[in-house]
Amino acid sequence: MYFLGGLASLFFQTLYLTFVPPFKAERVFEEVKKTGYDSLPIVSLVALFIGFIFALQTAYFMQRIGSELYIASLVALSVVRELGPVLTALIVAGRVGAAITAELGSMQVTEQVDALETLATNPIKYLVVPRFLALILVLPLLTLYADIVGILGSYLICVYKLGISGSLYLRITFEALLYKDLFTGLFKTIFFGMIIAFVSCYEGFNVQGGAEGVGRATRHSVVKSFIMIILADCFFTALFYFIFP
């Protein structure tokens, strides 16, 4: 409860300070680069291989019932609605969330956060707001990218291994996908971005002790982000199931 209270307090303070001048766009761009652009290699790798694996695993059953063509629609729906958003969020929580906690934690331990305050700078405004904005902006874009790369991975397997025509694969993919699939997949990533931002910053600010404390906080940050992302995903899946049946 203490953790959730602290998280809620950080959320409201950040939201308020987001709209209070001065606005430093360059700090947000800097974080966008660290959070998004620098995550592209790992996201590409994971998404491409998930596409390969998912196509091959689906083909195992589909070939038995002679319905290989449905691999395209199955992969498209699974990747866009579920795998793309959740895997991207988990990668970013592990890669970016852990780095944020470790960085803010080290700053806390070495009194850099206090030094910011003595220099009349609000640490939440300076450290949390740019990371929060970058994450809610970057996560939907990274997810969209992961969706495309995941489908590409499956396309490569289906076209070059299973002998399905490339144009037919793409036609089936686009026929299977509805706007609501894309929307529900991307919408929830904004919340995943918020979870990663607030959990990682909260854990970083609340580091106690030295190096051991930073390590503990980083571990907590990743584990708590994972749990909250999965719970949020479950909630949104159920919500959209009833809103967009």
Partner: protein, 253 residues
Amino acid sequence: MIEITNLHKSFGEHKVLDDLSLNINSGKTYVVIGRSGCGKSVLLKHIVGILKPDSGKVIVDGQEINALNVRRMNELRLRISMVFQGGALFDSMTVGENIGFGLIEHQHVSTQELLERIEESLCLVGLCGIQNLTPSELSGGMKKRVALARAICIRPQIILYDEPTTGVDPITADSINELIKSLHDKLKVTSIVVTHDMKSAYKVADRIAMMYQGKIIAEGTPQEIQETNHPVVYQFINGLAKGPITETLEQFR
């Protein structure tokens, strides 16, 4: 003038400040001495408003710190600088960016003036021309000097020093003491130095106050402190293993 009145602060069960009162006159250098962990740094953090007291008041130039709104608090903070024990330099920035941080964020000076002020501050602490180094490339003593340069760059009226000579060799410690004195003379600032280094205390202080069990138990000029009959102060300034401070600790064991 800084007036600290009946300050109380506890962390959980541990009472750190217990009805502490102290008045600090403008333009003077006050040294607060006491054992490690006795709450000296906590006292400094109350003066700059990073920590809030459980009760009591800190009044700086007639303004009660905890009654100020955010804007007034920030204005006041730009008149008070703090030099942290480990330097607390931002390690994602260069030395120059660290020193100019306050100016860049709040005072909107021209690039030319910014560079001049950074250079001037670095030269004042005897480190001209190291703007482009990063904090990880500096020695412990250099970090303390750069932290000092960052503190003076915003031209404060009050400088708070948290253990400025701890963890550096005796020669660097003495040069930091000289620096504190010369900055005080040149900039006419009010300085509060917390330390347990008595050599440093005697060298820089106009007045010395001793903190013990969350209170100020003695206050006076360096000479008055050196000639004290107070058994606790006597044990501390002479660094004796036996005396009332250690006897109290043994009672708790």
